[in-house]
Amino acid sequence: MTTAKTIHLTLKVVRQTGPDQKSNLETYAARNVSTDMSFLEMLDVVNEDLTLAGQDPIAFDHDCREGICGMCGAVVNGRPHGPQEGTTLCQLHMRHFEDGDEVVIEPWRSRAFKVIKDLVVDRGAFDQIIQAGGYISINTGGAPDANSLPVPKEMADQAMDAAACIGCGACVAACPNASAMLFTGAKISQLALLPQGRPEAKRRAAAMVAAMDKLGFGNCTNERECEAVCPKNISIVHIARMNREFLKAGFF
């Protein structure tokens, strides 16, 4: 274990005062950053200095800071959630940066995600995709006996892999076409793989894809950038399953 160091960084942050305003790149010095800090803690420190200096702090989304809520995220040096694979921005630590590094920080860019302020974007489009069919409409009643509905372990595992999606939007941010197919594919897959989700699988796939198309996301061209940046390592296998479910719904 190496002990914490202190590094100095130059931040180039995209600032935007509000929706429909022009954005511009501002330069800030982040001095005396402990390498044990997370990326968001580093921004907290920069924001403290900005506040004390009477300037507007950099707005960014965050909540759990444990990598499980899906609130945080920014494009750091050209890569959503920063340079570390399978990691959300809050779980990225400053030990992955070198003293003197220049760090460019930008919000997710997509027609479907409007910038609210600085690095905060409106991901309501994802909610609308879920509202179109990302659920099971059954009267739950009492919990059924655990053995009454057997699910093969493999299927349960695959469904869990898809359900790991935290809806952060990094897939859209990374996609050269700003497509939301990894998100939608994961949400369709997690239900299509389980017996509880099968009865509505067709209707769900058709409705969710239609919603996704309407919201202004781009089209998938199988660039595979999404799965490379996904903090939950969700595979494009789930996009293929969505394609199957959608085509089944369309043709049969």
Partner: protein
């Protein structure tokens, strides 16, 4: 028919159009290459092959109409997707890095596609829409490839085609939903081999012909 229109108008439906027509073109490339290989059998073998092919008559015309229809679908849907994807991100990034998913083929798909369209028009004007009554197809082909510019153009076009299919082949499987962790590495490998076969198979032909006489 409403259901069909709904499917085709969706994003996945458009991808399906690209995948299915693209797959047909892959099949066409194999048939075209197999036919062209008769040139290694010499002048007579090549002319005989061309004659047999044209003796198919109506069947050949039907295939040509089919290919033309597929080409129109592939080009128009491709153009719609390209435009849609351009507008999906109105504000660009200051800095954007590829994270390892993108390949040379996937990143250049619309551009290599456009170049191939230009090439196909040029190619048809060279060897298809020409007077074949007074000279044999072999004479036309060997006369064309006496010009070094033609050789360079054709070899370049075949490299472009190889890059295009290097992404297109496996991509079609993914779009059709044929992605399985066990078979996907094989499909990707097959795509790579196929692109090499297309690039080398077609690419060596102009060079060989130019050195024949």
């Amino acid at each position: 028919m409403n259901w069909l229109i709904n499917v085709v108008r969706s994003s996945i439906g458009k991808k399906l159009c690209m995948a299915l027509t693209g797959m047909c073109f892959c099949g066409f490339l194999i048939a075209h290459l197999a036919g062209n290989l008769t040139i290694y059998g010499g002048k007579d073998a090549f002319n005989a092959y061309a004659q047999r092919l044209h003796s198919l008559g109506a069947l050949l015309t039907l295939a040509e109409i089919g290919l033309l229809t597929f080409a129109l679908i592939h080009i128009s849907v491709g153009a719609i997707l390209f435009y849609g994807n351009l507008t999906a991100r109105p504000q660009r990034y200051e800095m954007k890095k590829n994270t390892g998913g993108r390949s040379l083929g996937s990143a250049t798909m619309p551009y290599t596609g456009f170049l191939l369209l230009l090439f196909i028009v040029f190619h048809l004007m060279n060897f298809h829409f020409v007077d074949k009554t007074r000279q044999s197809i072999f004479e036309i082909v060997s006369a064309a490839f006496q010009q070094p510019l033609y050789v360079v153009l054709y070899v370049t076009a075949m490299l472009v085609a190889a890059v295009h299919v290097s992404h297109g082949f496996w991509s079609a499987f993914q779009t059709l939903g044929l992605n399985h962790p066990k078979y996907m590495p094989l499909i990707r490998l097959a795509g790579l081999v196929f692109s090499l076969v297309v690039g080398a198979g077609f690419g060596f032909l102009p060079i060989y012909i130019s050195r024949m006489t």
